[in-house]
Structure formats: C-alpha cells, structure tokens
C-alpha cells in the first residue's frame, strides 16, 4: 500500500516478475506508475508491504541492483556526452563505454556538451546508462518519450537482449515498447 498526502495511491497490489520477464505498468497520468517504480527502487518507502528480490546479491539493496531511468536524467550540461557516460560507468562500476554510445546512436554526439542535446538525445544518453553497467533489474519510466523510430528500435533490441540474459524489466508506458510484455499491470484511476 502506498499513500501520498493521505490519499492512497494503490493498495493490495501484488505482483511478481521472474527472470526474463517484461512487466508493463499502465494507467492514466497520476495513477502512481512512477511512484511504484521508485518504491521498487527503494527511493520511497511503502506504508505497508514489501518488495523482495529472490536470488539477487544479498549484500546489496534492490536499488543497487536496479537501473532507474526516470524523467530526470542526471546529465550534466557542462560535460560532454562521453564524459557524462564515463562518469556513470566509473561510479556504478561498469566496464567500458566503448561501443555503448553506438548502441543508442549517440556516436556522432560524443564530444558535444550535453547541454546542447535535444530532449530525445538526452533520453538516449540516459538510456545508455543501462548499457555501461550491468544490473539485473531495469526500471524504466516512460522510456520511449521523445525517441524517434530508429532509437525506439535500438531500445527494443537492448530490452530483448537484457531479457534473454535473464534480466527483469518493469516499464511504465503509454505507448508500445516494441516487444510484447509478459504481464500488464493497470493501475487505477487517478483522483
């Protein structure tokens, strides 16, 4: 159960996702999709209930084993695209940024300051974080916003690859993700 300012956003919500499964969260604006993702990532605490990860690394929290791609991208406008990505690689303990920019069609923008990127390019740079450090759970908050057809295809491909490697993806979305979700959870009407 989760409340925001006395208003219960959802209660009695119960779902699981196994390795290789894609769960889509749907619902109108304000239904609590983002809140649910933040709750799974451990950024907010539920009033009641728990989030559990079976078979993960027990020394680390779920948040430390999940990538959260939200509305804010954590991009520093003063640094170049590559420097931004390199920072997240080093900070999150990834291996290399080699080839990761290409993975989302950002190679031509490598040396541009991130401040000049368009909304879709910023989104892609944010998504590139998924690729520089391996984490089993991807929490994607409307990942397709602002993406063009080609980037959408690249993203779908990366998501498919991640699922095939046994990862879990939970994505809040209004549109198509380019692959069929294993389960769809429709959150209730907004007040």
């Amino acid at each position: 159960m989760m409340e925001r300012g006395e208003r219960a956003i959802f209660s009695g919500l119960n779902f699981g996702a196994a390795a290789g499964e894609l769960v889509a969260l749907t619902g109108p604006n304000g239904a609590g999709k983002t809140t649910l993702l933040r709750l799974i990532a451990g950024l907010v605490r539920p009033q009641a209930g728990t989030v559990e990860l079976e078979g993960g690394d027990e020394d680390r929290t779920i948040g430390q084993q999940a990538h959260m791609i939200g509305h804010q991208h954590g991009i520093k406008p003063a640094l170049t695209v590559e420097e931004n990505l390199r920072f997240w690689k080093d900070f999150l303990g990834g291996e290399t940024v080699q080839g990761r920019l290409e993975g989302l069609g950002l190679e031509a923008l490598r040396d541009f300051p991130a401040g000049v990127l368009s909304a879709g390019q910023r989104r892609r740079l944010s998504l590139a974080r998924l690729l520089v450090a391996q984490r089993p759970i991807w929490l994607l908050d409307e990942p397709t916003t602002g993406l063009d057809q080609r980037s959408l295809g690249l993203l779908s491909e990366h998501m498919r690859g991640h699922l095939q490697e046994g990862g879990i993806i939970i994505a809040a979305t209004h549109g198509a993700l380019g692959l069929k979700p294993t389960a769809v959870i429709a959150l209730g009407e907004a007040a």
């Binding site: 990532a41 451990g42 950024l43 907010v44 605490r45 680390r60 929290t61 948040g63 430390q64 999940a66 959260m68 939200g70 509305h71 804010q72 991208h73 954590g74 991009i75 520093k76 003063a78 640094l79 420097e83 920072f87 997240w88 080093d90 900070f91 999150l92 303990g93 974080r129």
Partner: protein
C-alpha cells in the same frame, strides 16, 4: 575508491567548466578585502588590528555565497537519486561533494587570503599562522555549509535559510580561527592551541556532517 574518484572528477570538471561558484567566491573575497582599507582610511595600526577578523569574515561570506548549490544541481537533475543507488554509501557521497566544495571554494580562498592580507597590512610573521588556520578552518566551513545546503535542498530560495541555519555553527570556527591568526594571541603562545581547537572542530564536522546531511537529503527524496 573508484566511485569516489569518479565523483570528484565529475564535480571538479563541472565546477571548472561552469566556473561560476569559484569565480563568484574569489570576486567577492577580492572586493571585500580591497574595499576595506579604502573604507577605513589610512590608519595602518587599525587595519593591522582588524585584519584577521576582516579576512575571516570575508572568507566565511564568500564560501556561503556558493553553499546552497552544493547539492541543488544534483537534486534538480536527478543525479542525487542515482548517486543514492550507487555502490557507494550515501554518507560518502555527501562527504565527497562537501570536500569538492572545499576544493573549489574554501581552499583557493584560504590560499590566497594571506597574500591578499598584505592589502590590509598583516605582518609577515602572521602569514603562516593565518594560512594554516584558514586552510584548516575552511574545511569545517565547507562541511557545515554542506549541512545547511542538505537541509534546505528542496526549498525554493533556500539560500537565505542556509545562512540563517549555519551562522550559529560558524561562531566557534570564527572565534578560534581569528584567535589562531591574531598577533596578540600568537605572541602570547595561545595561537597553537586555538589552531588545535580549530582542527578539532573541522574533524568533528568531518565525521558528523555526512551522517546528518545524508539523512536530510534522504528525507527530501522520499
């Protein structure tokens, strides 16, 4: 260590490229120190007597100018949440960010202060004690500023709140900082003990501020 190094490198890179906080701090410090002798007139004895206090006040206020930005940019662009879910404990993240603020605002000022001190007529034998006290004290100043910044990060126009909240905590740093760099106390031999207390204040802040600041930031992210 690698995440810490990465965070330091990023924050230094941003600070150097934007250059705003360091530039503002140094500009403000220069303005105060250069205007002081003009405002007070040519009484050299008076200048020498008030020089350490004036330099400390200038240092404190210059550092405060950029204090509210320590966590604000990261809070606004979502980096803070991502940093909180990294492999590094969040206390270390806040400590690292406070130390980067010291490197880009407190330390440069502490280093140029004794040189600019000649403008307000400090004696040559004061230079070393002043530099030591300022380098030591500015670390505490930056750490306390980080605490204020963390407590007010989600408030719009939190700048004034930072000053009000942190000012009382600055009083001990100020007292012992000035005591460690005035000629009278240095002559009387109590300069070193003041310096020790100053170091103790900074070290206490080094331990306590990350815990308090990260708790405040976590509360804002809820």
């Amino acid at each position: 260590m690698k995440p810490i190094a990465a965070l330091i490198r990023r924050d230094l890179g941003v600070a150097l490229r934007q250059g705003s906080s360091l530039g503002t701090a140094i500009g403000f410090f220069l303005a105060v120190v250069m205007l002081l002798p003009i405002g007070l007139g040519p009484d050299q004895a008076l200048l020498q007597r008030i020089a350490p206090g004036a330099l400390w006040i200038a240092l404190l206020l210059s550092v405060l100018l950029s204090a509210d930005r320590i966590f604000l940019d990261d809070y606004d662009d979502g980096s803070l949440e991502l940093l909180a879910s990294g492999p590094l404990s969040f206390e270390l993240v806040t400590l690292t960010k406070a130390c980067v603020h010291w490197l880009t605002a407190g330390l440069p000022l502490a280093v140029i202060a004794p040189i600019l001190g000649f403008l307000v007529n400090i004696g040559p034998d004061q230079v070393l004690p002043l530099a030591a006290a300022m380098i030591m004290g500015s670390l505490g100043i930056s750490l306390l500023a980080a605490l204020g910044a963390a407590v007010t990060v989600g408030l719009r126009r939190g700048g004034m709140m930072v000053s009000l909240l942190i000012l009382p905590l600055y009083v001990p740093v100020m007292i012992f900082g000035v005591a460690a760099s005035t000629p009278q106390t240095i002559m009387a031999g109590s300069g070193v003990s003041s310096l020790m207390i100053l170091a103790a204040l900074s070290l206490a802040a080094l331990v306590m501020v990350p815990i308090a600041a990260s708790a405040a930031l976590r509360a804002y992210m809820q």
